[in-house]
Each structure stands twice: as structure tokens, then as C-alpha cells.
């Protein structure tokens, strides 16, 4: 009864001004999905006009390369957040991956890649099992992961005193050498992002991730394999964070132990700025990539300005995060009302 009346109200509204309603909804969705891209483009335009040194090929390349590690982690985080969860352990897994890759490089390139991937993947898997099987809160499980993984990293690096250097040539080349004008980390990021988009948009797994984040109970009733999907999502996130750490170690030629503090927040910020809702169910990887680049461009512009410290970047990304989240709330309220 109420349902039909609501429907007829909507029909009446749509009949009265179909164009305006459709246009408004489309504009809202456009801003939600591509807001980060729009801001990114306008910031790049602003940077090109304001600073001579900004729009040079070398500078833009630098932004892309340094953003690629964050981007790889953000791919996994996008899946996690769309599934309605969160992964706070990625910063620690990133550092652990780097240290393991550098120390593994003494035994060849294969060990340098396998060691971080297997370890970080396993940790991600365990977190996923705790979350999916024991139904513990993702926030708490991955918080414990953040602490515990950093502890493991400190334990294998003599409390952070030992910096392992990358000794394998082939592995070091993975960080620096170029294919088709792109360095390997950037190339791998692009490939992973494409695979991620396909997974998220075109496969049953992607549908399941969306369904769980949208409404877990409904998804369970529809027969979505909740536990398996969640375990996979956290496994992916752990693997990607470990891979990003390994590539970063190859790029820096060493496993640096002091990196990664607060990295999880940068990643979450990038994903949210990219239009993925932290409540789950809605989001996409193109937005995330735009969000990562946006943070990179902000940092670069602040460096260009010279007299501003890099701490200023944190202020700006915090402000951005607030703005985006408020905008998301306003739009979702408007959609509910409209």
C-alpha cells in the first residue's frame, strides 16, 4: 500500500520534471564517481599555470612513479572497503614486505619476490579468517595486525637498526628499469588496476563484494558465499601491500624500516576521496586511482610552493577527506529524499 503510493509519488515527480530530476541525479552520481578526477584535472591545470617546473615530463613522471606504490595498496583497499570492511594493517605489511624482499634478495630475485608475497599473503589470509569465520570486527583485527606486523618487522630487523640492501641485480632492475617508457612499478600498477576493474565490474566475485558491502544479510539470503569472499578480499589486500613493499624496496634498493607509519590512512583517504563509500557497497577503482594521483599532485604542488613543509600535505589531505565525506553525506541524503 505505502509502497505503491511512494512509487506513484516518484512517477508523478518524474512526470512533472523528468529532465531536471534525471539531470540532478546524474550530476550527483557524476560528482560521486568522478569528483576526484575533476579536482585532479583542475589541480594539474592550476599547477601547470602556477609553476613552470610542474608540467615538465620529468616532474609528472616522478609523481606517477612515487604514487604507484600507494596505488597498488589502494587497489586491495578498494575491494576491502566496498565489501564493508577496513584494513588498517597495510602500512605495516608494506614495510614488512620491503624488509623481507630486501633480505630475501640475498638468495636471488625469486626469493626476493616470494618471501614478502607468501608472508604478507598469509597474514592477510589469517586476518580474513578471523574476520569471516570468527566474525570479529575488521577494524580491531587489522588494528592488531598493524601492531603485530610492525612488531614482526622490527624483530627481523634488529629493532629497525638493520637496513637490508637489495643485492640481487635482477630484482633491483624491477624497481628502476623501463619498459615502453614506463618503469616496472608503474606498469605493474596499470596492469593490476585493469585486472581489478575487470574483477570488480565483470565477475561474480566483484558482484559478491558489492553485495556483501551493500547488505550482508540480504547477500547471505541470496546465497552469496560471504565468508569465502571476505577471506579472499583480505588475502588480496595483504598480498598487494606486500607486493607494493617489495617493489618499493627494489626501487629504493633497500628495505627501509621507518616507512609506512600512517600509510594506511593515506590509502583509505585516497579510496574515499575517489568516491568509494566507507559504508560499503559503492565504489570503483578508477576513482581510487584518481584519488591516489590527487594526493600525489597535492604533495608535489606543496613541494613546488617551496616555503611550505610536507606536513602541510597532511593538513590538505585531512581537509579533503572531510570535504569529500561531507559531500557524500549530502548527496546520499539528497538521493534518499529525491
Amino acid at each position: 500500500m505505502t509502497r505503491t503510493s511512494v512509487l506513484s509519488d516518484q512517477d508523478a515527480g518524474a512526470a512533472r520534471s523528468p529532465d531536471a530530476a534525471v539531470r540532478r541525479e546524474r550530476a550527483g552520481r557524476l560528482l560521486q564517481q568522478h569528483g576526484a578526477l575533476l579536482v585532479l584535472l583542475s589541480l594539474v591545470a592550476f599547477g601547470s599555470v602556477a609553476f613552470d617546473s610542474f608540467a615538465t615530463a620529468a616532474n609528472l613522471r616522478g609523481i606517477v612513479i612515487s604514487s604507484s606504490f600507494l596505488a597498488i595498496i589502494a587497489i586491495g583497499m578498494t575491494f576491502v572497503i566496498i565489501s564493508g570492511g577496513i584494513d588498517l594493517s597495510v602500512g605495516s605489511l608494506f614495510v614488512l614486505g620491503g624488509v623481507l624482499a630486501a633480505s630475501g634478495s640475498r638468495h636471488g630475485a625469486l626469493a626476493a619476490l616470494a618471501l614478502p608475497l607468501v608472508t604478507c599473503g598469509t597474514i592477510g589470509l589469517v586476518q580474513g579468517l578471523l574476520i569471516a569465520r570468527l566474525r570479529m570486527a575488521p577494524f580491531i583485527v587489522t588494528l592488531a595486525g598493524l601492531l603485530g606486523v610492525r612488531g614482526i618487522m622490527l624483530a627481523i630487523s634488529d629493532e629497525g637498526a638493520t637496513t637490508y640492501l637489495v643485492e640481487d641485480r635482477a630484482f633491483a632492475a624491477l624497481g628502476r628499469s623501463e619498459v615502453l617508457g614506463l618503469t616496472w612499478p608503474v606498469l605493474i600498477t596499470v596492469v593490476l588496476a585493469v585486472i581489478g576493474v575487470v574483477l570488480l565490474q565483470r565477475t561474480g566475485f566483484g558482484q559478491n563484494v558489492h553485495a556483501i558491502g551493500g547488505n550482508e544479510e540480504a547477500a547471505a539470503l541470496m546465497g552469496v558465499p560471504i565468508a569465502r569472499t571476505k577471506v579472499l578480499v583480505y588475502l588480496m589486500s595483504g598480498l598487494l601491500a606486500g607486493l607494493a613493499g617489495a617493489l618499493n624496496a627494489a626501487w629504493l634498493s633497500s628495505g627501509v624500516t621507518i616507512l609506512g607509519i600512517g600509510l594506511e590512512l593515506d590509502v583509505i583517504a585516497a579510496v574515499v576521496i575517489g568516491g568509494t563509500l566507507l559504508t560499503g557497497g559503492v565504489g570503483g577503482l578508477t576513482g581510487t586511482m584518481a584519488g591516489v594521483l590527487l594526493l600525489g599532485v597535492i604533495q608535489n604542488l606543496i613541494n613546488q610552493a617551496g616555503n611550505l613543509t610536507s606536513a602541510f600535505q597532511q593538513v590538505v589531505s585531512g581537509l579533503f577527506l572531510v570535504l569529500v565525506v561531507v559531500a557524500q553525506r549530502v548527496f546520499s541524503k539528497a538521493q534518499q529524499l529525491g
Binding site: 577496513i86 570468527l134 601492531l147 577527506l321
Partner: protein
Amino acid sequence: MAEAVAGTRPGTDRARVLAWAREYGVYVSVLALLLFNVAFTPNFLDAANFRTQLVQVAPIVIVSLGMALMIGTEGIDLSVGSVMALAASMVVLYLGYGAWPAILVALAAGALVGAAGGGLVAYVGVQPIVATLALLVGIRGLANVLVPQLRDFRSPTLITLGSDSVAGIPFVVLIAAVLTAVMTFVVRRTTFGRQIVAIGGNRVASELSGLPVKRLLLSVYVISGVLAAGAGVLATARLQAGDPTSLGLFMELSAITAVVIGGTPLSGGRIRVVGTVMGAMLIQLLQATLIQHDLPRSWAQIVQAVIILAAVYAAGNRGAR
């Protein structure tokens, strides 16, 4: 028949053990650690060592008190560590006007950050974890922009506040104890305390029964901000230096751990103040014990992580974000 009984028994026993662990586990753990240290750690009962432990735990206790209120409302405050850093930079910046004005400005800054987070959560409807995450990032940045590197100072008032004792009890510890007593009273005996617990228990019902939910939430965030700023002031006073880069780093994790270990469920609706203090003591004692027995800091972190997981599992904190 016998098999059926045997089959059900362990289940109920397990539930009972879990319930018991949830209520008293933290007390037992602290007691066990104390006994272990008395038996195996040389000089543990020295007054000096004892005082050091208490002084070090005081800031964690103060921050955790605010966090307990926050989690009681089914919220969470990730910004506390950054607020400590902001308070440190305020103290350094305004010390020229005298110690007390500087302290007041620091506390006011904490209140302001709390109001910002609370406003976003209560009036805009942003999730607590997101709102305070944005503040965590932004406020530490702001503290660093205002005071780019560690800056030391000499202020007699702050030296007194940070390092002096009354009747052998350090001021810092005294303040933490008084705040704990006040918080216990507020939670147990005041309308405000009951209303906060009610919001955490069932927000919709609280709204329908006419509680000023938004204003209450806002005030909880402001209280948490002020307490975190107070902890930042005390830590700064003890260090005799403002250190916005590393002061309060990971404090949100310690505080959340203390609250959860102490028996306050993440899903809100119940607040254990004394349990929270015990939780903070447990973290501190554990780290001190491991370090005094020459186990590295990294092990303390790993053990802490395992304890968080065990405590949350025992507390049956499920499903919540």
C-alpha cells in the same frame, strides 16, 4: 545419553569461562603480571621503579577515559594521538604568555578538534571512524606545520606539573587518579552518564525517548578532545619539550586496546571505567616486563596484538565495524 551430556557441557562451560574472562580477565592478568614481576624482576618493588611505571601509564589512562566514553556511545576517536601533538605545539607556541595561558589554549584546541569531529558525526552523520581519521591525518599535519621540529623550553610551572610529587605521588599520577574518580562518578551516578550509555545501547530508541542525542554526542567528543589535549600537556611538561612529530603516535591504538581489554564492548551500551584503567596498566606492565627481561620492544608489540585479539574474541565483540 552420556554422550549428549558430554556434548553440551563443554559448550556451556566455555560460555561461562568466556563471560568470566570478559568481566575479570583484565584484573587477573594485571595481578598475575604484578606477581610475576615481584618474583622474577629485580628491583621491581623499588619505589622509584613503581613511580616510573605509574608516571608512564598516566597519559594513556587519561586518554583512555575519554575513549571509554566514546566507545560507550558506539563511537571511536582515532584523533587522540594527533590532539596530543597539537596540544604540545600550542604549549610551545603560547608559553611566552605564561604557562597557564598556554595550557588553557592547548585544552581549548583539544575541545575545538573534539567539537569538529563531534559535529561531523552528530550533525552531518559521518561515521565516527572516518571523521576522526580525517582529523588524525589533518591535525598531526597542523601540529607539525605550527612547530616543525622538536623544541625544548624551560618553564618552572611546567616542570612542577610534569615532574614534581605530593607526598611521594607524582602530580601526573594524581591527576590521572582524580580524573578516573570523576569519570567513574559521571558514568555511574549522573544523568549524563546514563544518557551516554543509553545512546550506545540503542540510538534510535534514545532519540525517540527525547534524549538530546546530537548534543550529547558532541559533548562526548569534546570531552575526549580535552582529555587528549590534557594528556599531551602533561607529556610535554614531563619532556620539557614540544614534539609534534612523534608525541602520541599510536596512542589511539593503546587507548582502544585499554578500553576493549577493560570490558567495554565496541558495540557500545556499557562503560567500564576501572576496567579501562586496568587495561592501560596491563599494556604498560606488559611492555615494562618484556623490556626489563631483555626482550625487545618488537615482542611487546606482537604480544599486545595477540592480547587485543584474544580480549576482543573473549568479549564477543562481533560484527561491529
